[in-house]
């Protein structure tokens, strides 16, 4: 294998390779997903009641409510906006604190107007009512006449939804670019018969595959790091994360090379992506729903990419905790590499199969 | 005899490039006109205008009495087109491809099997086209162009890239159609094919028709006839000698040759269409 030729092929791929929709999607879709999930999607399954607040008199109540973790507080500056938000479901309830509300509370004749969203859950209304009452007590200086001790039962490892979606985002970033780019590149070259032309040059099939796989892996790693950064999870155990995601990227690019070697057209590639997505993203789905027996995740090869990432980021564990999964991942990558080598040998011996 | 195709001052531009430069010709019914020329001469553009795929920039084309730009529908219902590039439904079988076009043309009681047998695809009717060889695909393309028993058939490089057996089979089909009374418009840069099949040939070069006549007349007008003799000299060496057949001294030289030399072979040779094309246009057919 000649590194000079591989370098030449990589350079050719970067400057003249497909800069079309596959590359655009490899760059854009993971970022879009990361942004979307972090901004919006996590809200769908949480049970946090949303309270809108219009404080006309700079009440202490606002500060107390802002520090409450049980509700999601949104402040408004006009009754119209508050009412509109309650009307369309942006908030469960909107309350208006009148001028001098704090004084009114002290004197015992305060009035709060509230707009309730018709589709607000009863328990959200109850929760909001409870929190507001509690805030009023705190504001009025009442001394809490009870000690409350909280005891966790069983294995309490609650993960917020933003974090539960992290594996899905990272897997998409690594595997979309890592797989699709080498696969698309190979398919393009086959269709245009340029692969045949390369194969009768000093460049070997192995070198061609190495070049395409390298670019796919680099793109996958970059996108994986970027999505972790967008999700706010790329701040500790950086080297370990890069190692794990690097191996995952290599896995992705190898799978892409295998797909590119066997698939004839882009239609089939995208169809395979739609269909095979379940196999790739299975561990992410298992992680999203703790009700699903977690051992199911072990079946999927991508589990050994995503579990170390989750352990290093969300669970805050160190390198020691991921060694076993890392070793399994290395074994998987090696096994796939053997498969790719076999394909390279077969193609090298049967040059006619290149078209 | 009526004229099936009448072209008057036809022109087409691709941007600044005048691909077809105000050409004029006509084709009688039941005749084969060959359009010869190198790549980029304007042959395919001409075909596209005549078949209604492109609107002429200038001029007029009348097919079977109809103006092709005004009565495109009427023209297209009576022509068949065999394209240069294969454009079959590869996921369908041969018979399905033919039946589709028969339905589009409104052909009643269409016998696709007989047509496929005619082009040598009997037994492969139900196979998907994606499994066909290049020659088989080309035969199917020709079969498709005959689905509606057209009065004019446009064949754009029908034997390009084919083996001699397939080429001959296709040539025979072309001749059969001519015998049926169809007018054939054949574009090619294969001079042998043009010489063999065409009643008249037009030399197209850079958008213009440089010459238009029967192959025989073109050869007579532009060609040179020679006698080529191979004679034995000094024992084993064989030398070629050429005698101009149109010279006043031809008979004397032939007599002298036969008397004085040991003649191994003697045959006549005439100019090829390619030779004539080069002479007329200054370019090779295969440029």
């Amino acid at each position: 294998m000649s590194f000079r030729r591989i370098r030449t092929l990589i350079k050719n791929e970067i400057f003249y390779g497909p800069k079309d929709i596959v590359l655009v999607m490899s760059l854009v879709i993971p970022v879009l997903l990361a942004l979307f999930f972090n901004l919006a999607f996590g809200n769908i399954f949480n049970d946090r009641a949303a309270l809108g607040l219009l404080d006309k008199g700079d009440s202490e109540m606002t500060t107390i409510l802002q520090s409450s973790g049980s509700i999601s507080l949104k402040e408004y500056y006009s009754e119209e906006d508050l009412k509109a938000a309650a009307s369309d479901g942006s908030i469960d309830m909107g309350i208006i604190l009148p001028m001098s509300f704090d004084d009114m509370i002290q004197s015992g004749n305060a009035e709060i107007r509230a707009y309730t969203w018709g589709e607000s859950l009863i328990k959200h209304r109850v929760m909001i009512g409870t929190i507001v009452n509690d805030a009023v007590h705190e504001m009025s200086g009442s001394i809490l006449p009870v000690n409350i001790e909280m005891i966790a039962l069983g294995d309490v490892s609650e993960v917020p939804w933003n974090d539960r979606l992290l594996p899905l985002v990272v897997l998409t970033a690594i595997f979309f670019g890592g797989m699709m780019l080498p696969a698309a590149s190979l398919i393009n070259e086959k269709n245009k018969h340029t692969l045949e032309a390369l194969s009768v040059s000093p460049a070997t099939i192995g070198e061609i595959f190495t070049a395409k796989g390298t670019i796919g892996a680099i793109l996958a790693l970059v996108m994986g790091v970027l999505t972790l950064a967008i999700s706010g999870q790329f701040h500790s155990s950086i080297l370990s994360l890069i190692l794990v995601m690097g191996l995952g990227s290599v896995m992705a690019s190898q799978l892409g090379l295998i797909a590119g070697a066997y698939i004839k057209d882009m239609n089939t590639l995208f169809a395979l992506w739609k269909f095979g997505g379940l196999l790739l993203f299975g561990p992410a789905v298992v992680y999203m729903f703790p009700q699903i027996p977690q051992w199911i995740g072990y079946i999927f090869p991508t589990f050994y990419v995503i579990k170390p990432v989750v352990d290093l980021t969300i669970n805050g564990l160190g390198f020691d905790a991921i060694i076993l999964e890392l070793l399994i991942l290395i074994a998987i990558v090696a096994a796939i590499m053997v498969g790719v080598n076999r394909i390279v040998s077969r193609l090298s011996n049967q040059a006619l199969r290149l078209s | 005899m009526e004229k099936s195709i009448i072209v008057e001052n036809l022109a087409y531009r691709y941007g600044d490039l005048l691909a077809v430069d105000h050409i004029n010709f006509d084709v009688k019914a039941g005749k084969i006109l060959g359009f010869l020329g190198p790549n980029g001469a304007g042959k395919t553009t001409t075909v596209k205008m005549l078949t209604g795929q492109l609107r002429p920039y200038a001029g007029k084309a009348t097919l079977l009495g109809y103006d092709v730009t005004k009565d495109t529908n009427k023209v297209q219902s009576q022509i068949g087109v065999c394209f240069e590039q294969t454009n079959l439904y590869e996921q369908m079988s041969a018979i399905e491809n033919l039946k589709l076009f028969a339905a589009l043309f409104g052909v009643n009681n269409f016998d696709g099997y007989a047509l496929l047998e005619r082009v040598g695809l009997a037994g492969r009717e139900k196979d998907k086209v994606s499994g066909y060889s290049k020659g088989m695909k080309q035969r199917l393309m020709i079969a498709r162009s005959l689905v509606n028993r057209p009065q004019i058939i446009f064949m754009d490089e029908p034997t390009s890239g084919l083996d001699p057996v397939s080429s001959e089979a296709i040539d025979n089909i072309i001749l059969e159609e001519r015998d049926r009374g169809a007018t054939i418009f054949l574009t090619t840069h294969d001079m042998w094919e043009a010489d063999k099949l065409c009643d008249r040939v037009a030399f197209m070069n850079q958008g213009k028709i440089e010459a238009l006549d029967s192959p025989r007349n073109l050869k007579q007008q532009y060609g040179k006839r020679s006698l080529i003799a191979e004679i034995s000299s000094n024992g084993d060496a064989i030398v070629k000698k050429e005698i101009d057949m149109d010279s006043p001294n031809t008979a004397t030289e032939v007599e002298k040759l036969l008397t004085n030399e040991k003649v191994i072979t003697l045959h006549s040779e005439e100019a090829t269409l390619e030779d004539i094309f080069i002479k007329v246009t200054g370019r090779r057919l295969t440029e």
């Binding site: 509700i71 942006s90 009035e111 709060i112 589709e119 859950l121 | 454009n87 996921q91 369908m92 589709l100």
Partner: protein, 352 residues
Amino acid sequence: MNFRIIKALLKKDVSLFLSNRFYFLITIVGLILYIAIYFLMPSEVNEELNLAVYENENTGVFSQITGEEGINIEYFSDKEVLRQAVMDGDYHVGISLPDNIIAIWQAGEKPDITLYYSSSTPTEIRDAMVALISEIAYIQTGQSINYNISQEVLGTDMAGAQLSLRERMRPLLAVVILLMEILTLASLISVEIEQGTARALFVTPMRTSDLFMAKGILGVGLAMAQAILFLLLANGFDHQPLIILTTLLLGSMLVVGIGFLLASLSRDVMAVTGWGMLIFIILLIPGFGNVMPGLLSDWAKVIPSYFLTDTISRVVNYGAGWSDVGINLAILAGLTAVVIFAGMAALRRRYQ
């Protein structure tokens, strides 16, 4: 327009679609997947806070909220049984009151109340229960504060009759099924242009209007058939089926127009699939507004599929009638007409 030619073209397109076993399988599997997703989604809404309370004697501490809407209290006489029930996820939290809690308060001291929670208890509910206990303690010790809340419920009050997640997802899934056909149709057209078979068609008596009609019927047929099947299984036709069918028809036609535009603007099938997926994601955004009310602002209304999703949601989930969704339908019809004509014009140029 020639119906014989349209019929021949339709037969060809259906044959091509069915002969591509992989695509056909993906379509069927996709449909089954969407139906499965629908049925896997929760069909009920748990509106209540479920509390388990342990007390040694009937203290009446929680009497003020017992029977209150939104709170379900079960009393336990055995602490271990309460703990187990909370661990099993039967209750959001378990509250253990100390013995003689009233006496402790009367003595002016602070009793110790234990709050049990498990992994399935969301943090916000846990914290809200702390606030609830505090509130009850204030009341029991005479520290209640007087203030009034005057409440106005905006829109129909659906307390006790909430839309389940499954019902909220229904319009989104139906629209997803429709929108997926953009890719199918655009791919079919693009393949014909790429392979040159479109050129072969154009030298026959077939006219562009015949071709568009055939493609249109195919696109509408594929999209509508799948969407109707899904909504039939998902009880989407229980109310105003005619409005739903009209909406689906307009939606299918919109899909056809977008498919035409996509095929005309894309260089090859790969570009069709790639750009198609981006368009698909954008068109999906309004659907998420139904699942997460309040997520989207008014800007979402510039997306054409908003009027499709919103109409289906309002009819299927809120019982809207013709007068309620008439404007939506009119706008959708107008947008569809524009998109179809634009698509046809662009595709005509591409064919030429």
